[in-house]
């Protein structure tokens, strides 16, 4: 039951045919079965990509590329791990590569905040926790500012943060997905949290002072 709930929260949908059966059909030559497989996993994959990139088009492109890579490498898939986990590893590695490809990364938050952004920072300063949650859902600037904060992290740090915080993955799972040591994952997570806290404090101070 717990597993079922976790699956449905993560965006999985129960379908008549399990993933493994669809994969067998694809490998047997029925390429249409992959369409169903992709449709089933697409919301989850796109959501993960959007945690890496604020650019909607970029997120969709990487999601699409992930499915193509999965399709071409499907013969190498082994049923020991769920297809969703295997696909997630492809997505994460593509996102990580794309982050690394972007050479320039802002070291500090640029101070030119728009009026709605300042308003959101003020809300984060003074509103009650429930109001903050409600406001964040309605405000595009909350989403944009969060991306700006995360954009300052190194690609390694950001990848670890997304996997740990958003995907609720354990250190060993992250290490396995990225091919890193567990120590490296822990160090990256620690540094990422420190950097984020520092910048978020500055952002809150900006909201207080305006």
């Amino acid at each position: 039951m717990l597993g079922l709930r976790a699956r449905s929260r993560a965006g999985w949908r129960l379908s008549a045919k399990p993933d493994e059966e669809l994969i067998a059909e694809v490998l047997g030559g029925d390429t249409a079965a992959f369409t169903e497989l992709a449709a089933r996993h697409r919301p989850r994959v796109e959501r993960l990509c959007r945690r890496f990139f604020s650019d909607e088009e970029m997120a969709r492109d990487i999601a699409q590329e992930s499915f193509i890579r999965a399709y071409t490498a499907l013969a190498t898939y082994r049923a020991e791990m769920p297809f969703g986990g295997w696909l997630r590893a492809i997505v994460v590695n593509l996102c990580y590569d794309e982050l690394r490809r972007r050479r320039r990364r802002p070291e500090e938050l640029v101070g030119d905040f728009s009026a709605p952004e300042v308003q959101w920072m003020q809300t984060a300063n003074v509103a009650s926790p429930e109001e903050i949650v409600g406001e964040a859902e309605q405000r595009r600037e909350a989403y944009d500012l969060a991306h700006r904060l995360l954009d300052m992290l190194k690609p390694e740090d950001r990848t670890v943060m997304v996997l740990k915080e958003s995907e609720d993955m354990s250190v060993s799972e992250i290490a396995q997905t990225l091919g890193w040591s567990e120590a490296k994952v822990k160090i990256r997570a620690f540094r990422a949290r420190q950097a984020l806290r520092k910048q978020a404090e500055r952002m809150l101070a900006t909201g207080r002072n305006r």
Binding site: D61, R140, L150, S166
Partner: protein, 154 residues
Amino acid sequence: MNCFEARQEFSALWRKTATAERRAELLAHLKGCEKCDHAFRVFALTAPVLHGEMEQPEARVSRPARREFSLADRPRRFASVSRETSVQPNRWLAMSAAAAAIFIFAASTAYLSARTPDESLGEALSISDVNIDSETAADLLAPEIPLTENDLAS
């Protein structure tokens, strides 16, 4: 609820997956604990991306209709290796023609503006065969320098 437990529940509060009881406990804790309240505000700045549902509201982005999976939809930025190279003959043809025209124009301009010299280099540099005495020699070499007192007086 202690501070450690409270901070573990931030994500559940954001995702609205906390039970009513846990939620009430957390909110009560945040009211009474200044440090955790501040930590929640810091958390809230990245939570829209890290803990949000990430379903874009309609107002944020107008999304095109969802497509079914198709290999032909490979994004351009990833397609440099495997996508069939799309040669654009018209564009290359136009560029080649423009380059050729520029070359012909430059070559003919250079040809037409060049003149055959009337005299050789030696002739051009040599002094003509005239009677050179000391005065004219001085004039030739430095005509602006007065040489005599008369010159100075004049």
